[in-house]
């Protein structure tokens, strides 16, 4: 095994990959939330469609999209591998375990929260990304994503699934954002306060913004 493979398959290397892909996915969330928030202009989707068209057709963005898919796959596969090896490190569980005395429940549940997010990701891409890209591939035409949003979010069950997805994202980010910096070795008294503040603020603002989208459409605030 080369030193490079050996590094990335070590326990610290796997954490490094989780941190790097995690922060990359966080940067994706910023763009995704910013462009989708254009629906709040309430201009019949004009601004949103303009930027959606840019993201769906610009060659640089389309190339970066391959990196995004790879980022998701690495984060998911690496996470599942860590989950498996971490579970194997304690084959016999404690009869009594007072874990709440030393750690938060969400920091111990990243695998579970990640799995919920994976299920959400499948549903979400099946709603928008996959049909749109398939259509582009087949006909070269983009679908009307704004109209699709208006239609899909009329179903209260779909809205509920999206809100639950956002809640999972909140807890996942609340630990993951700060945890990524620690895994990269970036723990320093001068910056810890800033990382913690930005991490908490990000974890609240982004999922809240996302959750407001299906809710606003369902309640008719955006049409």
């Amino acid at each position: 095994m080369s030193w490079f493979t050996q590094t990335l398959t070590s326990s610290i290397g796997k954490k490094l990959l989780m941190a790097l892909t995690g922060l990359f996915l966080i940067s994706f969330l910023v763009i995704h939330a910013a462009i989708n928030a254009m629906i709040f202009y309430n201009d019949g989707g004009e601004t949103f469609t303009h930027w959606g068209h840019f993201m769906g057709t610009n060659p640089i963005i389309r190339t970066l999209e391959i990196g995004l898919v790879a980022g998701f796959i690495i984060h998911i596969v690496d996470g599942l591998m860590l989950w498996k090896s971490n579970a194997a490190a304690r084959p016999v569980k404690y009869a009594v375990n007072k874990a709440e005395a030393n750690s938060t429940w969400y920091s111990r549940s990243m695998g579970l929260l990640g799995t919920l997010l994976l299920i959400f990701l499948v549903i979400h891409t099946a709603h928008f990304w996959i049909p749109n890209r398939s259509n582009q591939f087949a006909t070269g035409e983009e679908l009307n994503l704004y109209q699709m949003m208006l239609d899909i979010f009329q179903n209260p069950i779909v809205v509920l699934i999206y809100v639950l997805g956002c809640i999972s994202l909140f807890w996942h980010l609340l630990h993951g954002f700060k945890s990524a910096f620690q895994s990269l070795g970036l723990n320093h008294v001068k910056y810890n306060g800033l990382i913690s503040f930005v991490g908490t603020a990000f974890s609240i603002v982004i999922p809240l913004l996302f959750a407001l989208m299906p809710i606003s459409i369902y309640l008719g605030w955006v049409y």
């Binding site: 080369s2 030193w3 050996q6 590094t7 070590s10 326990s11 610290i12 290397g13 796997k14 954490k15 490094l16 860590l82 090896s85 971490n86 194997a88 490190a89 304690r90 084959p91 016999v92 569980k93 404690y94 009869a95 009594v96 375990n97 007072k98 874990a99 005395a101 030393n102 750690s103 938060t104 920091s107 111990r108 990243m110 630990h175 700060k178 945890s179 620690q182 895994s183 990269l184 070795g185 970036l186 723990n187």
Partner: protein, 255 residues
């Protein structure tokens, strides 16, 4: 010492050896003093067991003053019990209430197999140290201490990391049975000092490789280890180990 006036019910893990299935046994003690340490309470239990011709409970202990790292009981769901910053031997029965039922288990980790009852095999830690947790020094006269200037902050941080007694509470507390707090403390105490520079890269690489080979889990940064550590070793050490390891992998001549 006040008179024995506490009634304590114990639920203790009993296991004859590493090849057999263990299980919990219930015991009742009627003359426990609140001034007894947790281990002294176990001494009383064992005398009671010997008198009735029962095999006494095997448990690890040595100095009984919180510095050797031998005692290792998982008490009511926490390593070394409910108090922060103390080992089991420094935990006293006044931390419990009269009539309490206390559940005592051994450390649970693939890398720490149960030898008997509450005793686990922690040789994995020794093998991690042997892999690189040392400095090589030529024989001869010790040089003048002032010839090796060490900044106060580095000395303090190295000392705080060196306070680790290797008890394994970090592994026991971690949901992944990860040994990263222990290994990071051992890497840090040498990486921070001039004496540790010669083998700095190879140390990080070898100790982490051995840690992984022993079957410890990876770190999820839950912070459970630092919260339960009797010597209050800081999570900053894990961040430092990550830097040391990544830096070593990227720059060392070992390919």
């Amino acid at each position: 010492m006040s008179a024995g006036n506490m009634h304590i019910k114990l639920k203790v893990w009993r296991q004859s050896n590493s090849n057999t299935q263990g299980g919990f046994e219930n015991y009742s003690l009627d003359t426990v003093s609140p001034d007894m340490s947790f281990l002294e309470m176990f001494d009383v239990l064992n005398e009671q067991l010997i008198e009735t011709g029962t095999e006494p409970v095997a448990f690890d202990h040595d100095c009984r003053e919180g510095i050797c790292g031998m005692c290792s009981m998982y008490i009511n769901g926490q390593p070394h019990g409910p108090l922060r910053g103390v080992t089991t031997c420094q935990l006293h029965m006044r931390s419990f209430k009269d009539g309490d039922t206390i559940v005592v288990e051994p450390w649970r980790a693939e890398a720490f197999p149960v030898i008997k009852d509450l005793v686990v095999d922690r040789d994995a830690f020794d093998r991690v140290i042997a892999a690189g947790g040392f400095v090589s020094v030529n024989t001869g006269n010790a040089q003048d201490a002032n010839s090796l200037p060490i900044p106060k902050v580095a000395a303090d941080d190295a000392f705080a990391a060196a306070a680790c007694i290797g008890c394994g509470a970090c592994v026991a507390a971690c949901k992944n049975a990860s040994a990263m707090l222990f290994v990071s403390a051992k890497i840090s105490q040498l990486a921070l000092l001039p004496q540790g520079q010669a083998e700095r890269n190879i140390r990080a690489e070898k100790m982490v490789a051995q840690m992984d080979a022993e079957g410890f889990g990876a770190c999820t940064n839950t912070g459970a280890c630092a919260a339960e550590c009797p010597k209050e070793i800081s999570l900053e050490n894990i961040a430092r180990m990550n830097r040391e390891y990544i830096g070593a992998k990227l720059s060392s001549s070992a390919v």
